[in-house]
Amino acid sequence: MRKYIFKRLVAAVLTMWVLITVVFFLVRLMPGDPFQNPKMTAEIRANMESYYGFDKPLIVQYGNYMKNLFKGDLGYSMKFTNKTVNGIIAESFPFSADLGIRALVFAVSFGLVLGIISARNRGGKLDFFCVIVAVLGTSIPDFIMGAVLQYGFGIKWGLLPVAQYQGIEYTILPACAIGFYTLASVSRIMRASMLEVASQDYIKTARSKGVSEFRITAKHQIRNAIMPVMTIMGPTVASVLTGTFVIESIFAIPGMGKYYVESVSNNDYSMVLGMTIFYGVFLIFCNLVVDVLYGVADPRVRIGER
């Protein structure tokens, strides 16, 4: 077990390093630069460049950046003057995280329930309904879902607040919009694996012993069927994160996604770099946690590794 975790950890650290390096050099390759003010004289420009360290050779910049990164310092934003990247992330991440966790909880819990109901009623009306939800969910992009929900529940019927972020009821619509796709994919996978488990011998054994249907489903079927759902938790976190990018701008939530999209169009190097690294490291970390949990939950995974 310890060896498995160690192996995963080394792989994750290596991936992070590759990510940081690739991102660092890619950002420097981008056309345009952050100091595009027509009033800027050559002198000011040179000053600015030396202030941000752009006058040094690339490799020195890279070394400095890595050194600062180890201290947890992502540098200053170039557009939002006097703000550090760390500061902006610290300010906006809680909003995104809050939204993301709500979306994830909503999607996974409802997805699992739908999948279980669907598999229990295979071929029936409920199953048909659940499959339709699943197919629709994977066919509607989240920004469209966001627009539809906002229009229907917010504007037309006035049931829920339209935008911004001031309390729990403000998070319902955006969380649903982000989570719907994940809900659909979780329910599909859960249904498939429930059906697969249902034909296993131990289910037959349990049934022939006279165990009640409820107990079979709850104790034997779900426990085994939930494994494949865990494997997609890594990509799921990534897709929820992607969802926050657009949903935050539709619902005017001051989260990280909004800042990221803005910095991309502003050519704000240090912001893009810092936030990309933050996102990347965060996702890699999530994947690591999922991998380790999966290894804990299912010993076959550990042994399967060479």
Binding site: V27, P141, V148, S265, T276, Y279
Partner: protein
């Protein structure tokens, strides 16, 4: 008592000639798959929708009196009417034309990106799976590494480096997009390589090249086509997403993502400007998803109904 032997008995009603004859023409793998696909109503409708949209994307803008950027000031934000079949946007551009021009961009990006990814992934994955060894190890390490990095981040950065437009978008999607297919094809090839018919071919001295063409490719082609079909909606979605956040297609060109983005600004007052393009995006994705599911069932009936 007379000796009973075989010759003295005749089985009535047994026609050995007819028994041995083949009653139906034999079907090739693809004919069989096509037969099953036609029976699957949802998948068949999906196929029709995709073909219909493609034809409309090619021809509809040609037969309209409006063009992509003609602005009709008098009918700004117009609703559906005889003059403007799907209404107009905030600057008075005809949505019917814009939708189909957008379809050209969105569909071609979806198809091209998915096909390139499938081809690159299949070749690399196939080589790794078939030959194994050092090549396999190096590529798989690389794939594991790339797999760990969130693909969206790489795509965004590559688009930023290459600039906006159709080609940069496709390139950016392909940088990491082939990995999924590569992993899947490698696994399949690895599995098929170990089977007896490949062993038999090897023993008979058939060269590797011919084994790949004759035995391995036909065995994975069905699943590969299914995978491809499932990847297209993903690519269309990615394009819409990138255009939506301002990184993909930029005006004056348009795609479904761009139209949605432009429409969302006026959601409160003119919801049709979002919902009409949204309808086309969703139905396309739905059609392709249904077609993909149907194809999967058609090429491998064992999987039917499991998902």
């Amino acid at each position: 008592m007379a000796e009973l032997n075989r010759e003295s008995f005749v089985i009535r009603g047994k026609d050995t000639v007819r028994m041995e004859s083949i009653s139906r023409p034999s079907l090739s793998f693809w004919q069989d798959a096509w037969r099953r696909l036609k029976k699957n109503r949802a998948a068949f409708i999906g196929l029709c929708v995709v073909i219909f949209y493609t034809i409309m994307a090619v021809f509809a803008p040609m037969f309209s009196q409006y063009s992509l950027s003609d602005m009709d000031v008098t009918s700004r934000n117009a609703f559906i009417s005889a003059e403007h079949w799907l209404g107009c946007d905030a600057t008075g551009r005809d949505l019917w034309v814009r939708i189909w021009m957008g379809a050209r961009v969105s569909l071609s990006i979806g198809f091209i990106a998915a096909i390139i990814n499938a081809c690159v992934g299949a070749v690399i994955g196939g080589l790794c799976g078939f030959y194994g060894g050092k090549l396999d190890m190096i590529v798989m390490r690389l794939v594991d590494l790339l797999y760990g990095i969130p693909s969206l981040i790489i795509t965004i950065l590559v688009v930023m480096v290459l600039g906006k437009g159709i080609t940069p978008l496709i390139v950016a999607m392909c940088v990491v997009g082939w990995i999924g297919t590569c992993r899947f094809v490698r696994g399949e090839v690895y599995r098929i390589k170990e089977q007896d018919f490949v062993m038999a071919a090897k023993v008979l001295g058939i060269p590797d090249f011919k084994i790949i063409i004759k035995h391995i490719i036909p065995n994975i082609l069905g699943m590969l086509v299914t995978n491809l079909c499932m990847a297209i909606p993903g690519a269309i979605f990615q394009e819409a997403f990138l255009s939506y956040i301002g990184l993909g297609i930029t005006p004056p060109n348009c795609s479904w993502g761009v139209i949605c983005k432009e429409g969302i600004t006026y959601l409160r007052y003119y919801p049709h400007q979002v919902f009409i393009p949204a309808f086309f995006v969703c139905t396309t994705m739905l059609a392709l998803n249904l077609l993909g599911n149907g194809l999967r069932d058609a090429v491998d009936p064992r999987l039917r109904g499991t998902e």
